[in-house]
């Protein structure tokens, strides 16, 4: 990563955390649906970036969300899993040679982009809500929360990507 990438990633980290804890955590649409936009950081982290660095950063990202939300370590755990499995999802959605083709999340074909983002968001939310609810007797609540929050998050992630994509 060069200097400008480091700076833009640091800013993205801070802004996404503040946006999440000050605004998005208070939406509570229909009582329980909240979008979790902050995983955008993991989604758009440079695809050829250092994998260990991404794992550590994701942990810190989740931990700071947990710190504000009094939720123990559920966000940290969920972020870690998607950060660790990200290369797998990238391979699955963009093809084996994504690292050499210099794929950018913003410029990839729409279907590949949808697959990648949906996989990341769904897995993150599933782990998040299973750890939060932490009991199999509430499995319906778990699936319901995962589904609706995922839809909300996916839409929001797409809008944010469209909004900040550079036309060049």
């Amino acid at each position: 990563m060069n200097n400008s990438e480091i700076i833009s990633n640091v800013f993205r980290f801070i802004i996404l955390v503040l946006l999440q804890v000050l605004i998005l955590n208070n939406i509570n649409f229909l009582g329980y649906i909240n979008p979790y936009l902050y995983i955008l950081f993991i989604i758009v982290f440079p695809l050829n970036g250092n994998k260990s660095l991404l794992i550590i950063l994701s942990f810190l990202l989740g931990l700071s969300i947990d710190l504000f939300g009094n939720s123990g370590g559920i966000h940290a755990a969920a972020c870690l899993v998607i950060a660790y499995l990200r290369p797998l999802f990238l391979k699955f959605s963009f093809g084996v040679s994504y690292e050499y083709n210099m794929v950018k999340v913003n410029k990839a074909p729409l279907t590949e982009r949808i697959t990648y983002i949906t996989l990341m968001v769904l897995l993150h939310h599933l782990i998040l809500f299973s750890l939060e609810i932490f009991s199999f007797s509430h499995i319906l609540l778990l699936l319901k929360s995962t589904l609706f929050s995922s839809i909300f998050s996916i839409v929001l992630v797409f809008c944010t990507l469209l909004l900040f994509s550079r036309k060049s």
Binding site: I55, N70, S71, G72, G73, I74, A76, A77, F134
Partner: protein, 274 residues
């Protein structure tokens, strides 16, 4: 030796992932039990400061509503005061010398959640304002929760909308008591379980705190009975419509029981003797 080293280097990502995941999993498990969320909570300098900043902005938008609530409470308290005056036939007691077991500390809510299964509030009063763990928290309408973690200037409150919460409560017109829990479905309805079947319950009856624990004084309002059914072991399970609007909390009172320490140490002593 070299092979072990190579193994570590080759699997460094997985090892990193495993260690950090274990750590966050431990934190998660800890957060599911009362009294052990010491390490990670929003009662710390950084998140407390940011939430205070947010609240400072947000309070301006609710001033009118807050004034209305204060006026309502004043009217209620004035009525009670008049009743006392009538009783004492002109001899109004001096409030500064009046002995009371309870002390009330006012606090501002700087963070509130009600959509999770384990909801926790953060308030802007901490150890330096003599708030400590296990104190009750109420609003002018009814109860809110119990303090479960304190830092110097902030405290977190385990709300009644938390699956770990269990609060002693009883039906107002009888002495049958049970424990108030929450089934995570609606933020304005809690469940009162294990009321003896001999109790006469009607929809609309008032539920109040029991006063058997040292946390809440007796007779604080909780809510009204919304529905009830006879449970498995022939006890009533009641749905309680809460008086407090848990989705809209700004100012709360923390209750300090001056005798709590004495009562608890006495109870502990007699437990140890057995």
């Amino acid at each position: 030796m070299q092979q072990i080293l190579f193994f570590f280097i080759r699997n460094k990502n997985f090892l990193l992932f495993a260690v950090l995941f274990l750590f966050s999993f431990v934190l998660t498990v800890q957060s599911h039990s009362f009294h052990s969320t010491k390490f990670m909570s929003s009662a710390n300098f950084l998140s407390g400061g940011i939430f205070t900043f947010k609240t400072n902005i947000n309070t301006y938008f609710g001033l009118e509503e807050e004034n209305k609530k204060l006026i309502q409470e004043n009217v209620f308290l004035r009525k009670e005061l008049e009743a006392y005056k009538m009783d004492a036939a002109g001899k109004a007691p001096d409030t500064s010398t009046l002995h009371s077991k309870y002390r009330f500390i006012d606090a501002q809510v700087i963070n509130n959640s009600y959509s999770k299964t384990k909801n926790i509030l953060t308030i802007q009063k901490g150890a330096s304002d003599s708030v400590s763990i296990d104190m009750g928290v109420i609003t002018s309408n009814g109860i809110v929760g119990i303090v479960n973690n304190v830092s110097k200037n902030y405290a977190t409150v385990q709300s009644i909308l938390n699956t770990n919460s269990q609060i002693n409560a009883r039906v107002k017109n009888s002495n049958h008591f049970g424990s108030l829990t929450w089934d995570t479905k609606k933020p304005n309805v809690a469940q009162l379980n294990d009321i003896n079947r001999l109790a006469s319950v009607k929809v609309g009856d008032t539920i109040i705190t029991d006063g058997k624990s040292t946390i809440f004084p007796e007779g604080l309002f909780i809510g009204t009975i919304k529905a009830f059914e006879l449970g498995e072991n022939d006890n009533y399970n009641l749905d309680v419509q809460l008086f407090t609007d848990m989705t809209n909390l700004k100012h709360v009172y923390v209750i300090e029981n001056k005798d709590a320490e004495e009562i608890q140490s006495l109870e502990k002593e007699s437990e140890d003797e057995q």
